[in-house]
């Protein structure tokens, strides 16, 4: 082993996850009620500390898994926050990640054990530390990502209707989209498979279910494309 760097400060490194989910009520995020001081009882993003023998991506996955039981989730690193007093206990820098999950798939019990709860975007409470800022930036990134990768699908169940997909995009972008234009754009991407099955819950007529074509989807992920909604 080579000589260590001397005269350099070591710092606590945290990871905070902005976990987006989607269901019939729209876009949500998963928050946790902090059960230790300071700020005990306040709402917080789901986070933890980076271990010395751990890569950031792995830490983010570990933390997400601890609170939701989920693996194999779309996650992306966002930004490192480093204000001196952002955590009043001790100088800590925090790297934010966001994850997209299908609410129906998560382990509801795990979430309950940890006093975690889904909040609609409109009802998000004030968060501890600089977590509000982290969330705002995550939404911005999610909007941007949505326009260049069809990641929105990560938030939907395997089979979904066009209406669900439309509403997901409307929720992410928080603007109304034209139904016909949306459908023809999505179809032009050629990443959906229309099933022979209908969802009869939403209307008397029933609406076709789709799933996405993983192979074609992967291709699109490679070749930067732009989905202009």
């Amino acid at each position: 082993m080579l000589n260590k760097y001397s005269d350099t400060d070591k710092i606590l490194v945290a990871v905070d996850c902005i976990i987006f989910g989607f269901d019939a009520d729209g876009l949500k995020i998963l928050l946790i009620k902090r059960d230790f001081e300071p700020e005990k009882g306040k709402w917080s993003l789901i986070g933890g500390f980076l271990k010395n023998d751990e890569v950031l991506d792995t830490a983010a996955i570990r933390i997400l898994n601890t609170y939701t039981g989920l693996n194999d989730i779309y996650m992306e690193q966002l930004y490192a926050y480093s204000e001196i007093d952002r955590d009043p206990v001790e100088r800590t820098i925090s790297v934010s990640y966001y994850a997209l999950i299908n609410i129906e798939n998560h382990n509801a019990e795990l979430i309950k054990n940890y006093h975690a709860q889904w909040f609609s975007m409109a009802e998000v409470p004030k968060l501890i530390f600089d977590h509000d800022k982290m969330l705002r930036n995550a939404i911005r990134r999610l909007r941007y990502r949505t326009s260049i990768k069809p990641i929105g699908f990560e938030l939907l169940p395997e089979k979904f209707t066009m209406r669900q997909l439309l509403e997901l995009y409307e929720a992410i972008l928080s603007k109304e989209l034209d139904k016909r234009n949306f459908i023809s754009k999505i179809n032009s991407l050629d990443i959906l498979i229309k099933l022979d099955e209908k969802d009869m819950k939403s209307s008397r007529k029933g609406s076709y279910l789709y799933r996405f074509d993983k192979e074609k989807y992967e291709e699109k992920l490679l070749n930067d494309f732009v989905l202009n909604l």
Copy 2:
């Protein structure tokens, strides 16, 4: 002061800067010859360690200033790299920043003292650690940023010709652009002021110099816009 977090690992945090410059020979980056082990004598991004009482942005500015004498530079945080063995001396995570500077403005002596050197993009040597990856990602981000903010101007002298601007964009995007289409797009942004002055160095006829209109430029920075080149 509240109780410290116990049982958590503290880690060295570094900042590495990808410093882009532009001159008549095209787009360049500033590298430094490492004068300590390991990898002594190899080329490296300009970097340093984050201090305990310092914010990442400030550290990036400090490091840039140390090696170039420059202040007041466009910088943007990019990504946190955290592979366990990325630095063989000691476990270190590094947050990358990129900066855009006008080569003519920098303090050439400072750069020489530190054995720093500008490299054309085509001639960048192999870099230490994971700095190659950092550079690749920075170029990608620069391309993207260029398309949504007119940051390219940061790389030019205060007064510049349309040709210089065109060549800058060509260098960043590494593709040829149509002169007429480019000029009309830039003009449609309405952020340039055409001066009464001509640059006579480039041709017998001389070409008009422009500077950009700071106020209108700031507006554009606020309202997300897209420059499709």
